[in-house]
């Protein structure tokens, strides 16, 4: 399924991810942590499919376990002492729980980053930042383009070298290594000369003149306006809740979370809606499409 949230204006995407990643980094309250982790996981599965599940099983869970174990080994704060290590340092319940919470937070942020990578493609990034930091975004886009291009060029050079018996697959091991270095050296020369050519071509096509447009054009339409307003509203509610201390969490010396009150529930709901928003938009789009399809 195509991701509907990616079709929004880059500024909406960027604002959203800035919000959820920052919130994900700061909130340690178990309920908010759970909300963020589940929604980030759901959305990243929607975006990346089976790969996410595999990565999560093989990397994230061991990493979480490691982090949860590492923290109590070095951190001996907290008043509930479970047992003592051989060197006399205590292992406390609080430090174990804190390790788990920090591990969840870390995984959540990484999941959000993986969603960010899928949604904020480099052309969107460059569209957004092309005006503020034009040279930097130009360099970024060029490097991203150069890497696959060099890989292709290396193949070309390697084939040509093969004809004169100088490929990495020919000769003894020392010879091969030498040939390999030689190919890379040819590549470098080509890359540099080619780069100058590109630069001159850019200049003759008017690089650096004012009022030039981007490669990808995005319109900020009513749909974007609506979603951006919703995101801003939710972010404001969560921030207000955070300022009022509804989602603070203390681990040391004893665990103390903010009480679940009526206003806290509002904050939780707002955070839940915020985190699940892209997944929700995707599902709504799917339903809409079904509906239109069934009419035909």
């Amino acid at each position: 399924m195509k991701d509907a949230f990616s079709t929004f204006h880059p500024i909406v995407n960027f604002a959203y991810f800035t919000g959820v990643i920052l919130f994900g980094m700061f909130f340690l309250h178990p309920i908010l942590l759970g909300i963020a982790m589940i929604s980030a996981f759901t959305y990243s599965v929607m975006l990346n499919g089976k790969r996410t599940i595999r990565i999560n099983l093989f990397y994230m869970i061991p990493m979480m376990l490691l982090m949860s174990l590492l923290n109590p080994a070095f951190n001996h704060e907290g008043k509930t002492i479970l047992f003592y290590l051989k060197n006399g340092n205590p292992i406390t319940l609080e430090s174990i729980l804190y390790g788990i919470a920090a591990a969840c937070m870390f995984v959540t942020v990484i999941l959000w980053f993986s969603c960010y990578n899928a949604v904020m493609t480099s052309d969107k990034f460059i569209y957004l930042f092309g005006r503020i930091i034009p040279s930097l975004s130009l360099i970024l886009s060029m490097v991203l383009r150069f890497v696959p291009r060099y890989a292709a060029q290396i193949k070309v050079i390697s084939k040509a070298q093969k004809c004169i018996g100088r490929d990495v697959s020919q000769g003894n091991i020392l010879r091969r290594a030498k040939n390999g270095i030689h190919i890379v050296s040819i590549m470098t020369t080509w890359a540099l000369e080619n780069a100058i050519e590109t630069a001159d071509s850019m200049r003759s096509r008017g690089y650096g003149l004012p009022n030039r447009t981007s490669f990808s054009l995005f319109c900020f339409d009513n749909r974007d306006k609506a979603v951006l307003t919703v995101i801003m509203g939710l972010v404001t509610i969560v921030l207000a809740g955070s300022a009022a201390g509804e989602n603070t969490m203390r681990f040391f010396p004893s665990i103390k979370a903010a009480k679940v009150s009526f206003s806290a529930i509002i904050v939780y709901c707002a955070y839940l809606i915020l985190c699940i928003l892209p997944a929700f938009i995707n599902i709504m789009e799917g339903v809409k499409w079904r509906h239109i399809e069934s009419k035909i």
Binding site: N75, L138, L140, M142, L192, A199
Partner: protein, 244 residues
Amino acid sequence: MPEHKPTDKRMSRRTLLAAILILFIIPGTILFGVFFLNDRKYYFISLLIIMYTMLPFVMVFENRKPQARELIIIAVLAAIAVAGRAAFFMLPQFKPVVAVVIIAGVCFGGEAGFLVGAVAGFVSNFFFGQGPWTPWQMFCFGIIGFVAGILYKKGILKKTRLSLCIFGGLATFIIYGGIINIGSLLMFTSQFSWKALFATYISGFWFDIVHAIATAFFLYIISQTMIEKLDRIKIKYGLIEDVN
């Protein structure tokens, strides 16, 4: 090819500003995070660092009209570094990135070295996965390029193989290893303690050694040809230095 001695040993005001930013303000921010924010906001600190790493860039290029040629040379070097990192993906830590960054710093000056390093760190993570470690890598790669550029300008670092290899190995071990271990400690545990830091250094020791050897190895192999090519390009087309 005769070696071109840097004629002007004084640093420009911009380089000085960038040096202050990189050498004092960034570590200061890290320490501020460690001691005053109780080190619970390490993500926030990482984001601040990523902003600082952009600043020297802004100072170098966004203020004056950058020439397409300068931009593209930096992009080429960063792309070579990224491609090098991708080519050796199967050997952990055995990467030529630092070597390329040092060569860039020596040939095109500190800021260019910094940019090549930071951009290579950022872009290669598009292929390897972005995460909270990105700013740390950007900073570590960048600062090595910057230091290489400054030391060359000061005449301490030479373009000879021996000099580059010694600098590369030491810089990778001390600067990269020294900083990235702090970064990984802050990423994986929540509370800073000297004991934990010491443990991280111990556990990272072999990785850092391998990385340092890799840098020296790549510098030994590629430095002379690369420098020759870059100098040739520089002279042929009159790049960065002449523009200033």
